[in-house]
């Protein structure tokens, strides 16, 4: 099967390439409940793709399908032009997909630095013995990974909390540390599950800035779920709208905003 789309350059000068991920006819059931009903959409190289929808629409389930946490009963996941067989999440991670969680999932007792280092795990290849003795390959690897992690710390401006235990950080910074850990995996596709939930305006502005910068500097493709419509409309190139497990809209922010079905889903309509 061919997935060819024309590359183009966005208004602000970012290059959007070909198809990175294509989801076809995904259906996910939990017993008798259909969380996702026959949804298809694609994510293109270099774009910021948002998934929105009211509570319970199936957004997080969709993200979990992409990250390999759930295997859909029907449908195909195509990644980099190849059909992806059912996989474990760590295998998906090795393929270059990293994510953050809706509820922060960091190691609270560990320092920021160590937390971010865990993001490098998928790239560490030294054996257990070498790790335990910290010699040869283990030492070389650690230095290499630390250098990479330090670039991310610099990028996200969290130098001052490098050695602080995560449990002592305020919420907004924890979110940033989670983003740092995901970035440490050098993903091609970064999945962000409500990166701005519970943040104040200033923290949201910072986070938006970082998301744009990540996309711009590293060329990382980003798929995100977010409830703040202002943020979604400003950040994303294209938006998928879900409601009750169905896809009800897909397009640029402007297109989605004018889609009657989307408006109804958000504002509610009288059901006869």
């Amino acid at each position: 099967m061919k997935d060819t789309v024309e590359p183009y350059v966005t208004q602000d000068g970012r290059a959007i390439g070909g198809m990175l991920m294509h989801l076809r006819g995904i259906t996910l059931r939990f017993g008798g409940v259909e969380a996702i009903k026959n949804i298809s959409f694609d994510i293109r190289q270099g774009e910021i793709r948002a998934i929105i929808g009211p509570n319970g629409a199936g957004k997080s389930s969709m993200l979990n399908v992409i990250s390999g946490f759930y295997n859909p009963q029907e449908g195909e996941v195509w990644f980099r032009g190849e059909r992806r067989p059912p996989m474990k999440p760590y295998q998906v991670a090795r393929q270059g997909v990293a994510r953050t969680f809706q509820n922060i999932a960091l190691f609270e007792g560990m320092s920021v630095l160590d937390n971010i280092m865990t993001g490098r795990l998928t790239q560490m290849k030294a054996g257990m013995l070498a790790q335990a003795l910290w010699m040869g390959r283990a030492e070389r690897e650690e230095i290499e990974h630390r250098a990479h992690v330090e670039r991310i710390i610099d990028f996200l401006e969290i130098q001052s909390i490098r050695k602080t235990p995560v449990s002592r950080l305020p919420y907004g910074l924890k979110k940033r540390v989670e983003l740092a850990r995901a970035l440490a995996a050098e993903p091609d596709l970064l999945l962000l599950d409500e990166p701005m939930a519970g943040m104040n305006v200033e923290e949201k502005e910072d986070m938006s800035r970082f998301i744009l910068d990540v996309n711009d500097e590293f060329g990382t493709t980003i798929a995100l779920i977010e409830h703040d419509m202002g943020v979604v409309m400003d950040l994303s190139d294209r938006v998928v709208v879900m409601d009750y497990g169905r896809k009800i809209g897909d397009g640029t922010p402007a297109e989605v905003r004018n889609n009657q079905e989307v408006i109804d889903a958000y504002l509610g309509v009288a059901h006869d």
């Binding site: 602000d12 000068g13 250098a147 670039r151 610099d154 990028f155 130098q159 001052s160 910068d213």
Partner: protein
């Protein structure tokens, strides 16, 4: 004024650089923490970077006498940019990085800068916005490329690209020729004074000003090539220029730049500078942090701390000044050093400090004594941009919190009849750029410069004592001397008072505005289970007001002891609902209160303080960091303070 001999080969800062390369080639000249590691550059490497940048500027078409604006946080690359500009006969003009766009626009236009070197995207954005008002930069160079990739690069390059361009060009001969043409009289730097009133002025300092001052003061404190400084104060401030460029180039010591402004205290601890400079608020902040943490410490630790600190306060300063101290006390001090002072100094990053200075504002005696009692050689100096910093400074062994020391080497001091302090020195500035009138009114034909401060020389010690800004020293309606800063400083010495503004010129009594210190008061509130949702609410809490009232009463008692100033006691006060802020124009960028602005802006509050009302409702416009404006509404309590009666002895102000 004594001329200071510098030697034939020393004609400019670039000449000093060449000398350092010859003397200390492989020793570290600059360090910067980046990616979690201290990166360092030797004098030879630094000189190479500077040459590349200088040649790059030449390749971009920099002419002799061009001004090069430099703005950003302290980074080696920006220090190099200053020296690179000097090497090709250009004049570096460092600008405050937190300056508003209009302030930058004014400086660009006034200096006619053709080039600018900016630290990062934020600074580049400001420079671009500033140019919208008319100033036109020929080229902008940035250090950190992040976020700038898709900017229009027709008149913009990264520093690395400019250096590469310079290395590839054949401009070395031209650069050397221009460096050779530099003389002691040629301009070394132009610095804009923040100015408590009016437009900032461009202070032109010559190579002689900078080098002579650096040499004599480096000798005064025996600064050497092995010293370490932490460069974290604004690069646009004359002090940083003298410490990080002037004295560093003269002695060849190493300049260390922190990783980011937030990591300054960690970096301080890692570097352990031997020569350290900080405004009083840094020392205050550190002391407050220590005290807060000791409050939370266990009982044994707290007892140890209190016990040995009490001993240190008694014997520490005497030991530091080399006075005779009993053997038993010495022994106890040594034990204290082992258990308390040593670890504490280490935590503060001050273990290795050989020479420490504080200036800019008066420092509280308790704070000053705290550091001295730990054995840290903290001293005071008095100076200003127009003097290339140094007017007076305290020699080792003669340090006190209430004086600012003896005239620096080569400086003459004269006290005018009005009480204003005048000086004449090798560092006396050349002129205010494009402002002959101001130059003439500040510097007389004989080279005497008015400091604008009132003070006197103590007969006993020969030390200078500063009372207040000369124009702020006024008279009250009864003819008594009004020295607001004297009282404000006493108030500010309390950790929970951040700022105070005293009014009373031409009135029959004094009143005051107080700003609480959110750090200290907030912590106190937390420990005492006092809930508050905003700065404003905390500031008006009855128990906070009661505390402040106690402080005001105590200050009144202390002010009353000095008969000349007894009339300056505070009769009524209120605690302001917002912090005074440079963004709102209430303070200068160096955080000095603009008294007149505050008085005008809060005229309703001043009125209420004098008309006897108990509360006052007020609305205040505030500017947020992103430039948006908002309004604060508050009802403020006004309190009466206890005033010590002065028994009919009204002293006249000095005529």
């Amino acid at each position: 004024m004594t001329a200071i001999a510098l030697g034939d080969d020393v004609r400019s800062v670039p000449h000093l650089l060449a000398r350092n390369v010859a003397r200390h080639a492989a020793k570290p000249a600059y360090r910067e923490k980046e990616f979690g590691i201290w990166q360092s550059w030797s004098w030879a490497e630094a000189a190479d970077e500077i040459d590349a940048l200088a040649m790059g500027l030449l390749a971009l078409g920099a002419d002799r006498g061009d001004h090069v604006a430099i703005t950003g946080r302290n980074r080696p690359a920006l220090y190099w940019a200053m020296v690179a500009a000097q090497k090709i006969g250009c004049i570096p003009v460092p600008l405050y990085q937190d300056a508003a766009v209009e302030e930058i626009a004014y400086a660009l236009e006034h200096s006619g800068a053709r080039f600018a070197v900016a630290g990062d995207q934020e600074m580049v954005d400001k420079l671009i916005d500033a140019q919208a008002d008319g100033a036109a930069l020929h080229h902008v160079i940035y250090v950190d490329p992040r976020g700038l990739r898709r900017y229009d690069h027709t008149a913009m390059s990264s520093l690395a690209d400019v250096q590469a361009k310079g290395r590839a060009s054949n401009t070395r001969a031209e650069m050397e020729a221009r460096t050779q043409a530099l003389t002691l009289e040629s301009t070394c730097v132009m610095l804009y004074t923040s100015g408590t009133t009016g437009r900032p002025k461009g202070v032109v300092l010559s190579n002689y000003n900078v080098i002579a001052t650096s040499k004599s003061t480096a000798e005064f404190d025996d600064l050497r090539a092995g010293d370490e400084v932490l460069a974290y104060l604004p690069m646009a401030w004359v002090g940083d220029f003298i410490f990080s460029i002037g004295q560093a180039m003269w002695t060849g010591f190493c300049v260390n730049c922190p990783e980011s402004p937030d990591t300054m205290l960690t970096d301080l601890r890692e570097i352990g500078p031997t020569y350290f400079f900080a405004p009083p608020r840094v020392f205050e902040g550190q002391l407050t942090t220590v005290m807060i943490r000791m409050e939370d410490a266990g009982r044994v630790k707290k007892w140890l701390f209190d016990h040995f600190m009490a001993h240190a306060r008694r014997t520490g300063p005497a030991l530091l000044d080399g006075e005779r101290v009993g053997a038993l006390d010495q022994l106890r001090y040594r034990l204290g050093d082992l258990l308390v002072y040593g670890p504490l100094k280490n935590t503060l990053g001050l273990s290795r400090v050989r020479v420490g200075y504080t200036a800019g504002e008066a420092i509280g005696p308790e704070i000053f004594d705290f550091y001295r009692s730990l054995g840290i050689n903290l001293k005071q100096l008095y100076g200003q941009t127009e003097a290339t910093v140094f007017i007076t400074q305290q020699p080792d062994g003669q340090v006190r919190s209430d004086t600012v020391g003896v005239p620096s080497p080569g400086v003459e001091i004269r006290i005018a009849d009005s009480g204003e302090v005048f000086y004449r020195s090798p560092g006396t500035f050349v002129e205010y750029y494009k402002n002959a009138d101001s130059t003439a009114s500040t510097k007389d034909p004989e080279g005497w410069v008015a400091t604008g401060d009132a003070g006197f020389i103590e007969e006993r010690s020969g030390h200078l004592r500063i009372i207040d800004r000369a124009k702020d020293v006024g008279k009250m309606s009864g003819g008594e001397m009004f020295a607001p800063k004297y009282v404000e400083n006493k108030l500010k010495f309390y950790p929970n008072i951040l700022e105070a503004v005293v009014f009373g010129a031409g009135r029959d009594r004094c009143v005051a505005f107080i700003n609480i210190d959110l750090n200290a008061v907030g912590n106190w509130a937390e420990r005492n289970n006092i809930a508050y949702s905003s700065y404003q609410e905390l500031s008006q809490h009855p128990r906070v007001l009661a505390q402040i009232e106690e402080h005001v009463n105590a200050v009144n008692e202390s002010v009353a002891e000095d008969p000349m100033l007894a009339a300056c006691q505070i009769h009524r006060f209120l605690v302001l609902h917002k912090e005074l802020d440079a963004d709102d124009g209430e303070m200068t960028r160096t955080r000095k209160v603009r008294r007149a602005v505050v008085g005008d802006k809060f005229a309703d509050l001043v009125g209420a303080l004098y008309d006897g009302s108990d509360t006052i409702y007020t609305e205040t416009e505030v500017t947020y960091e992103d430039g948006r404006k908002g309004k604060l509404r508050a009802t403020l309590d006004i309190r009466d303070a206890k005033v010590v009666p002065v028994e009919g002895r009204r002293m006249e102000a000095a005529e």
